[in-house]
């Protein structure tokens, strides 16, 4: 599927830096950013930069992937509870012999997401296991 470079560009702030939203009325956090609170409907939402650390909420090892990630199989995808933010989904990279478990500490890194050959490259946040 051909991706729009403009659509990607609109999400740089979210994808590059973990910028989300917080509802000033009900205090709910969102990622990616929203224009209205999905929980209470308020339009009183502000940008919020989430911390780059969190823990694994759940995870899965992917053996059969979408075409663009086939070179990376097997790889881990996880739900991650950010320390001051919501649960988000992301890839866990650079996993060697470590065994993943729920509650494991992770931190955000900046990695290439897609783009080969003549395509524009896209980048974004992924997560890496925190060394003890």
């Amino acid at each position: 599927m051909k991706k729009s470079v403009v659509a990607e560009w609109r999400r740089y702030e979210d994808r590059y830096r973990l910028m989300g939203s917080v509802c000033l009325l009900c205090k709910e956090n969102f990622f990616p950013r929203v224009t209205h609170c999905v929980r209470c409907g308020s339009s009183d939402v502000r940008d919020r930069l989430f911390l780059r650390e969190g823990e694994i909420y759940s995870f899965s090892k992917i053996h059969v992937s979408p075409e663009q990630f086939q070179k990376q199989v097997p790889y881990y995808v996880a739900l991650i509870k950010l320390d001051n933010g919501p649960v988000i989904s992301s890839q866990i990279v650079d996993v060697g012999s470590e065994k993943l478990f729920v509650g494991m500490r992770v931190y955000a890194v900046f990695r290439k997401v897609s783009g080969t050959g003549e395509q524009a490259l896209t980048y974004g946040i992924k997560f890496r296991l925190t060394k003890k």
């Binding site: 070179k71 650079d94 900046f110 990695r111 490259l121 060394k131």
Partner: protein
């Protein structure tokens, strides 16, 4: 006005391939090669890593070490010979992901293996001329070596970033002075659309690496009335482990002065990241008052020499991730996996 290093960061990808693994594929004697190059394994980028992601990780660390507000970065230069795009700067993506804002001076630099130190000169000059109060100078590479070529044993991935600033900021090391020594020397090149570099084999030694490192270093020592014994540590560009040891001896430096810088022995040649990673490893264990000399080398050819004086503030800095932490954190790849990582097979 004094200028100096406010902070620094380094990054080495986790993946390694051994000299033995590569030599086995090409029917070569691994022991002989490792002994000749002083390199028994090299770092390899992850499947989703490139110069931009390495530059970002090193810079992020440099900022985080001193809780530096990225909006106060006034200049950012990325030196590399493996920028992901031929046209579209790496530096803007690094800056955007760091949160630098929009009011900063920037460009991508290329001068073979010395583009990182060229960035340090440019940022230092911006700060000296008061056009910027601070700036990030970054050297990062995912170096290419043609399968079966001698370069395949050493061409590695990694980088380092230095946050340089005016004396409005606390320095961990002052930048005392810097010089360059440059000539038109065809020792190593990659054509406009070429995937791998070519080199002039033994010509890369005496008239290239040794002449320029020797030229820049002796010019610097004479200009500032220094002698090799005035320095506690020295860093020379590391295309392999043999060249920096040879040039250090020839210039009158001891193995003790050189040893902390020799990241090449563990990860190979990270090109634009090489001398900067050496400097980062020296700073990891430097003491207040230490004097450090660094001379880079970039094929084509040129060398930049700097000297630094470490301040008391270094002790506050030596708490985070070290270059040695990255060196020791590794996953070994087979040759087939390595080929996938560097794009030889897709």
């Amino acid at each position: 006005m004094k200028i100096g290093i406010i902070s620094y960061g380094a990054y080495i990808p986790k993946y390694r391939v051994t000299t033995e693994e590569i030599a086995g594929v090409w029917g070569k004697n691994a022991e002989e090669i490792a002994r000749g190059l002083f390199v028994s394994e090299k770092s390899v980028p992850g499947l989703d890593e490139d110069t931009i992601t390495i530059a970002h990780e090193a810079s992020r660390q440099a900022l985080d070490r001193v809780a530096f507000n990225p909006r106060h970065v006034d200049a950012l230069f990325v030196g590399s010979e493996s920028h992901p795009y031929a046209v579209k700067p790496s530096s803007v993506t690094v800056a955007k992901a760091l949160g630098v804002g929009t009011d900063y001076y920037t460009a991508d630099l290329e001068f073979a293996c010395k583009a990182g130190s060229a960035g340090m000169q440019i940022v230092s000059s911006f700060v000296s001329s008061k056009k910027a109060r601070t700036g990030l100078a970054i050297g990062a590479d995912t170096a290419q070596g043609k399968p079966g070529d001698a370069l395949e044993y050493t061409a590695a991935a990694g980088g380092a970033a230095f946050l340089i600033g005016s004396d409005d900021y606390e320095h961990i090391a002052t930048i005392d002075d810097y010089v360059s020594y440059t000539s038109d020397t065809p020792d190593f090149w990659r054509s406009k659309h070429g995937k791998y570099p070519h080199h002039a084999e033994r010509f890369t030694g005496k008239p290239a690496y040794f002449k320029h490192i020797f030229g820049a270093t002796t010019y610097y020592l004479e200009k500032n009335n220094y002698s090799p014994s005035d320095f506690d540590s020295v860093i020379f560009h590391m295309p392999n482990g043999k060249f920096p040891r040879t040039v250090a001896r020839a210039l009158g430096f001891t193995e003790d002065q050189l040893s902390d810088s020799l990241v090449v022995d563990f990860i190979g040649n990270t090109y634009s990241g090489s001398s900067l990673l050496g400097l980062a490893r020296v700073l990891d264990s430097a003491k207040p008052g230490d004097r450090i000399l660094m001379t880079s080398y970039g094929s084509g050819s040129g060398s930049d020499t700097f000297s630094f004086t470490v301040t008391d503030a270094i002790e506050k800095m030596q708490t985070g991730v070290t270059v040695n932490d990255y060196i020791e954190d590794k996953i070994y790849l087979s040759y087939g996996e390595y080929a996938k990582h560097v794009g030889t097979v897709n």
